[in-house]
């Protein structure tokens, strides 16, 4: 069993320094890795990123993150990424990373993701340049996720996890106003997950949503936004059957 700890939307700033550290220091007893599902800061400044970095620095488990929309607000995502990486955090955008847990190769593919809506109720690349750019941004990030998951399969990972900030499914948005679903996620992310295959998809972003969901291809989805899980992090146990997951076996 691979034990995956995950949390998103911690929104740390200087006044919340040290808030999560006591809980994170228990991670070695209950998890093999920690996933951070974006919105780690409030405004996406390097100063706020330093608070996040201090919170996770030196933990005895690998820490893997994606950025969220808040982490882009100050338009310094590269600086935020650099600060997190300097503390040993693996920050993903359209790429994957492999962690060895008791000889098992565990792959995590990550992207921030973006909005656009869900099948039958989604935006299209049509009309004004702004609208086309909106949908193309999501499509590009979803393609990056697909490529990263494919790469992890080729790399022999027995367990693969998709880590995003925006949601791949509407299931985990239940509780949010329906009107804002298109700003909370996109089916393009789920399509990438289902086509490449994964054992689990983890996201944040929807504070008023629901923890549990599933893609139409059968991949379990968990919304780990901290207001949803109501803990410092959630832990999911993933079974290992020894064979790399494929789109068919994941479903």
């Amino acid at each position: 069993m691979i034990r995956v700890a995950a949390v998103g939307d911690i929104h740390l700033g200087p006044d919340s320094r040290g808030l999560l550290r006591p809980a994170f220091e228990t991670l070695h007893r209950q998890a093999d890795l920690l996933l951070l599902a974006g919105d780690l800061t409030r405004h996406g400044t390097p100063e706020e990123a330093r608070v996040v970095a201090d919170e996770v620095a030196g933990l005895p488990v690998p820490v893997i993150a994606v950025l969220g929309n808040h982490d882009h607000h100050a338009e310094q995502p590269d600086d935020v990424t650099d600060v997190l990486r300097s503390a040993g955090v693996t920050v993903l955008e359209g790429e994957g990373t492999v962690v060895e847990v008791d000889g098992v190769r565990v792959g995590v593919a990550g992207t921030k993701g973006f909005g656009g809506g869900f099948a039958g109720r989604s935006g299209s690349e049509f009309g004004e340049p702004e609208m086309k750019a909106f949908v193309r941004h999501t499509r590009g990030l979803a393609d990056g996720l697909r490529g990263a998951l494919d790469g992890l399969a080729a790399d022999g990972c027995a367990v693969r996890i998709a880590l995003t900030h925006f949601s791949p499914v509407p299931d985990t948005l239940v509780g949010e106003p329906l009107e804002i679903y298109p700003f909370l996620g996109s089916y393009l992310l789920a399509e990438a997950v289902d086509e490449s295959g994964a054992d689990l998809a983890v996201h944040g972003h929807a504070h008023l949503g629901t923890e549990h969901g599933i893609t139409s291809g059968g991949v379990r989805v968990r919304n780990v936004a901290q207001p949803v899980i109501r803990r410092a992090f959630a832990v999911y146990g993933l079974p290992v059957d020894g064979s790399p997951t494929t789109a068919a076996s994941a479903a």
């Binding site: 034990r3 929104h11 919340s16 209950q30 008023l208 410092a232 999911y236």
Partner: protein
């Protein structure tokens, strides 16, 4: 829907009908006194860049302005659900800290003077979980 808090976090901000009786300054204000000053000395929140030429007394728009102010200020708070309920406004969500919750209530009082604001704002729980979920 945010889970209703079970830790005694129900709070009120602004002046409801009862409070208005004992707090004259919180009585309903007209359009020119909608509380949308250029800079709030109390909150330290910067004003939105474009002050509307005609400040509104319409509750629906004032709720929208509160949402914009929560998002655009120091709090960067986009996770509150703010809805009209009869003659009052209901705010639901989870705040990171008690300080943030106080700031949200203060901004609500500034933005919605004369309107009863009922808030169910829980505080984020930062304790470690006591059990995993096994996905077999």
């Amino acid at each position: 829907m945010a889970t209703p808090p079970d830790d005694g976090t129900r709070a009120e901000a602004g002046a409801g009908p009862d409070a208005a009786d004992s707090a004259p300054d919180a009585a309903p204000t007209g359009p020119a006194q909608s509380g949308r000053s250029a800079q709030s000395a109390q909150s330290g929140q910067p004003a939105r860049p474009a002050q509307p030429a005609h400040p509104t007394s319409n509750t629906e728009y004032r709720i929208a302005h509160l949402g914009e102010r929560l998002a655009g200020g120091d709090l960067a708070e986009l996770g509150m659900r703010i809805e009209s309920r009869g003659d009052s406004v209901h705010i639901t969500g989870t705040a990171s800290t008690a300080h943030d919750r106080e700031a949200i209530l203060r901004l609500a009082a500034e933005e919605l003077p004369g309107i009863a604001v009922r808030a169910d704002i829980a505080l984020a729980d930062v304790t470690a979980p006591d059990h995993p979920e096994d996905l077999s």
